[in-house]
Point group: C2
Chain length 489, copies 2
């Protein structure tokens, strides 16, 4: 792609200032329009060392409307390779109507960490990058990507940055990297950049390569490009991605499950106490090793999620786990892509996040009640697998429980709740309405269980009619998964 | 206070389980009520090493309704002494209708950091603690404080915690502290704790000291206490703190200011460029030294805040500063105390936060338009001074600019905006309405400028009729403040 960089339009002397002001006014207008239309916007900058990224961004900032607009720096990211690849970017995602300028981005993190480059390059592989950008643009995020290109001569000239702010940050937070290498071997980096650009130049998020030998000309060109591209995207409006063609497969994961499994109260009590002690020890081991876990609970209403979670956590120290009850998204959560509210609750290193209902709501209630459009839930199977894969790749234990009861058992539990004064709050009209749609839910659940079951992020179906059995199966499964993971390097 | 700890109510054998369940149901009810009534609640635990805090909290969690309830651990706080004292707790404040349980709290941080105890004890001095708690309870937060007390015998017995989760965390994140000391010198700690409890046992946030030799009895006692105290607070409803008596002083800071000051375009251009270069260098120095800055801008509508900020930042690297435009609070921001939205935007270490309008809105628009009640804005003078003092004490540069123009100049600028197509968005009906209340605003501004001017967090009044002069005065003031701060240790 770098070959095709168009030569810079030279601006006659004295025209830079007025031109900048004119473009700033236009940019302000587009910006206010984007805010009104509630489009979230990412404008990212990558490019050669020495391309004066900071100077260009600052000029941009001087000429933009400061409201709903900020700059994200990835300079201070430390130990990113110990966390799921895109976690930092999910946590710092712009919301609806916000513009975020990325001084550097996920492209930079591909190779910033000296000594960890192989791992970083894998984490931020082109497939992961393209998937991440697609999740967002499919959700009507606008992503503008700028690569600041320098000729070899100019690049060599500009490489003395010891007294800049960026250098001060890097020397404090990062192992120094790239500068000397870039100076020594322009061709090698040229090829690397070219490959990166070619592999990530997608229809939904194309690259704009800008000749940046002259900072002023580059600034003008970028401003013009932002105005032009944002206007085009806003004119096009929000677009529903096409619905993927669906195969007429009948999925089945539940039909062979026998919901009632034998377990006496005596056996339960004895094993419960044993498993609690085991979990107490494992939690310490996991923490010491820095291994985190994400455990999701789904199941029929009154399937016993709450009780299973309480027994699981009874052996854990509250300092190291958190339970996140998931209900319909709040106003704040609706301001972002649907994945956001789960990414921000990932466990800290060595800790455990337990979700009482999960991101799989996308494939059940949101699908069946129409909260997600057909194109949205249809693509969520792949999106969710990519998300969980990133968690697993970062070393986390990931597991999803489906608590299976039959229709009669649900009716018995609903009735009992209805008739017990201090349990009545647990049962609502919505529960009865959902029950009426049992067959539709069953179909969706079957498809979900089959299509999102992964070796390292498995669905575990729990026979739930007998609560004793169900709770112990959950605890035992977690114990086994933790032990298996601890046995790995 | 410790002398008066009442002996434990012994529970007959076999009654613990059923009692726990009964209290859990009651607690669940109070909890749902608190959520409905949108009261934010803090329940904090302090006490002796070995008092089984984790076990008690976990039992609580097992028996509470998981929605809107979580546990905050302060175990991982590192280098807290480099940040403003209560920043961590502001950032992690529960919102309306949320209950947050604090496994340890600000009381713990008084003396956790070996080698930095003097500094920590000052940061979390009793006056600061009481002020922090009062800001919240005045705003109808509910704070329940529990101290788990152990007898000397029991304390010595329980001190082997090497295989617990808490120990694993501490040995990873904190310098080990207190354990050996506590074992060796119960009396010394007894006196320290007693002093702490006595000094922070306030009407608005009293201590509940719990005899914890028997973990089970302590758990029951705590649950009963939470139910009783939350119910009492909820029954009492939200209370408006009384309005403080106000002295009939006429405050004046503005009458002697001459809004127009001479400055030619030539002088402006020359100095602008000089100041930009100076700021570029100072920003690097400040970053290297880890010194942050908070710079606030207030002033009459059309007073030139935006233009002054743009010139100030024109010499700065965007990686190290952020501009926060402050408008009326969003739904999320309204979910917390009014200070919250400023605490969460404090600069990272070595960086600069610039606020375009600030927390002083409390004393101007919120006061005059009735968005804050008389008791709320009347106490905000002290609250704001305490807040800024914490920022300064942590080493930050703090400064507030008031951009002063006269009424004629404002009219001229309003009219020009009205008549310039691409500036019309800058002027609204509200601006004209505010202009009609000039005299009322002037009175409030005078009081604010006098009463919140502090040596290390000064108000700088900027003569604003001549924009050249105003912009340079802002830049020069910041340069001087940075240089002065860099000259200190």
């Amino acid at each position: 792609m770098l070959e095709k960089v168009s030569p810079e339009k030279k601006l006659p002397k004295g025209e830079y200032g007025p031109k900048l002001e004119e473009l700033g006014l236009q940019l302000g207008e587009v910006q206010r329009r984007a805010r009104e239309e509630k489009r979230p916007i990412i404008i990212l900058f990558e490019g050669w060392r020495g391309a004066k990224r900071s100077e260009i961004i600052n000029t941009l900032m001087q000429n933009m409307d400061a409201r709903g607009f900020d700059v994200l720096s990835t300079m201070e990211l430390i130990d990113v390779t110990d966390r799921p690849a895109f976690e930092f970017f999910w946590k710092n995602l712009p919301g609806k109507g916000e513009i975020r300028v990325y001084h550097r981005s996920w492209y930079y993190l591909r190779n910033v960490h000296e000594g960890q480059r192989n791992k970083a390059a894998k984490m931020f592989g082109y497939n992961h990058i393209n998937a991440f950008e697609k999740v967002l643009t499919d959700d009507n995020y606008i992503i503008l990507k700028y690569f600041l290109h320098l000729s070899e001569d100019e690049q060599k000239k500009n490489m003395t940055d010891e007294d800049t702010f960026g250098f001060a940050i890097r020397s404090k937070h990062l192992t120094e990297y790239g500068r000397n290498e870039q100076r020594a071997d322009y061709k090698k980096f040229y090829e690397q950049y070219d490959k990166m650009l070619t592999n990530t130049d997608t229809n939904n998020a194309p690259w704009h390569v800008i000749a940046a030998d002259s900072t002023k000309n580059a600034t003008i060109e970028i401003m013009e490009s932002i105005i032009e591209n944002l206007t085009a995207k806003l004119d096009a409006g929000k677009v529903d991605a096409p619905v993927e063609a669906r195969t007429a497969v009948k999925y089945d994961a539940l039909s062979k499950i026998v919901p009632y499994q034998e377990m006496t109260k005596e056996e339960y009590k004895e094993k419960l106490s044993k498993y609690q002690k085991k979990l107490t020890k494992l939690q310490v081991e996991m923490y010491k090793r820095g291994i985190s876990a994400v455990i999701g609970f789904e199941g029929w209403d009154a399937g016993g999620k709450g009780g299973a979670i309480r027994r699981l956590t009874s052996g854990l120290d509250p300092l190291g786990y958190q339970v996140f009850p998931v209900a319909s998204p709040t106003a704040v959560e609706n301001n972002y892509n649907y994945q956001w509210r789960f990414w921000i609750h990932l466990p800290r290193t060595g800790e455990i996040s337990i979700f009482d209902r999960t991101w799989y709501g996308r494939l059940m209630v949101e699908r069946l009640e129409g909260f997600a459009k057909p194109n949205e839930w249809a693509r969520a199977y792949d999106e969710i697998k990519e998300m969980e894969k990133q968690w697993v790749d970062s070393g986390m234990v990931v597991c999803k429980f489906w608590l299976q009861i039959d229709k009669d058992e649900q009716l018995a539990r609903f009735t009992e709740r209805q008739n017990t004064p201090n349990k009545q709050w647990k049962i609502t009209d919505e529960d009865w309405r959902n029950r009426d749609k049992w067959e539709a839910y069953e179909e969706a659940v079957n498809e979900m269980l089959v299509r999102t079951d992964m070796e390292d992020a498995p669905w575990v179906i729990v026979e739930g009619n007998n609560k004793y059995y169900a709770r112990l199966k959950v605890m035992k499964t977690v114990i086994d998964l933790f032990e298996k993971r601890l046995a790995q390097k």
